[in-house]
Symmetry: C2
Subunit: 172 residues, 2 copies
Amino acid sequence: MPIQEDFSRAELEVMRRVSGLPIDELALSVASNLWRASQLFKQKLEREVLREHSLSFSSFSTLFIIWIWGPIETREIAKSQAVSKATVTSLLITLEKHGLVKRKVSKTDKRLVLAELTSAGRTMVEWVFPKFNQGEADMAGILTETEQLELARLLRKVVAGFQISLEQEVAA
Amino acid sequence: MPIQEDFSRAELEVMRRVSGLPIDELALSVASNLWRASQLFKQKLEREVLREHSLSFSSFSTLFIIWIWGPIETREIAKSQAVSKATVTSLLITLEKHGLVKRKVSKTDKRLVLAELTSAGRTMVEWVFPKFNQGEADMAGILTETEQLELARLLRKVVAGFQISLEQEVAA
DNA sequence: ATTCAAACGTTCGATTTCAAATGATTTTTT
DNA sequence: AAAAAATCATTTGAAATCGAACGTTTGAAT
């Protein structure tokens, strides 16, 4: 991989350190910048938008998913957020404690627990989401619109690729 | 934004739900796929590579940073990982407990704490890193090489953009 | 119909995470 | 030089996170 001038000093130093090892440097670049971008994004949203409403990134994401999908099973939330079911249980307990979510056992299958928003929860999402989206727009605005479209496409392809390999694992 | 056929059902449903609201849908797409890709990546690496060595994603990242930068200050680790100093303290305590890291107070400035690898820590990084990188390559391999280069470039631009806005905050 | 296996959510213990408060040290101001 | 301000890592308390173990419920197999 050719050295490019837009590499950060940190990234250059990492590359210097691993050069000579049998390492896929391009994959390393993709992964480390993916992780770093996602963490900076999370940090920005928590500090600039969510903190004043006493919401963590995870709780807001959970609220948002429930807002989109109405009464939804615990396992579906877990899958959609790429977290464990245990984590979702924990998040729902906290959200319920704050009066934003209600849980009820499914009538047709008593193993399932359905989560839905309370009216306070709905108000919260509809109040916070536009500000959250403004934070998303701030990040995306670093790129041109063409670049944003391309970035979304590439990330979508990566996500879809993960999904396929997960399905294959389950099938195996 | 035109509806594209490679949208997941979930993404389409979200877009349907927010259509009509004054929302930047492209930014929403970028952000949600960025977050989802990063979480799937983390999950994959923890399950397929790190778990067998009793390492979390964060501990490995911390070990790796110390491996790259030799004796390094707590605050530098925090900055490079986009986590708080308190988190780094916690991670270093755990890593020290497992004999992978050693901490010592700086001689020139007694406020600073320097972290460095023990020989067990060095062995661990050099053993795990190639497998970790293989996981990175698995993800990157979902894309063509041209796409990988473009994704790395776009993410790098986003990261750099965050850095600039952070510097402006500090300066203000 | 009974037994067996699978699936679900929860609990448990350990780690990760953060903001705020704290104590120690250094730097700046007076 | 003394006092004040700034910086650093740590502690504290609360929440998020996971894998493993568990109890309940459902579906499948006999």
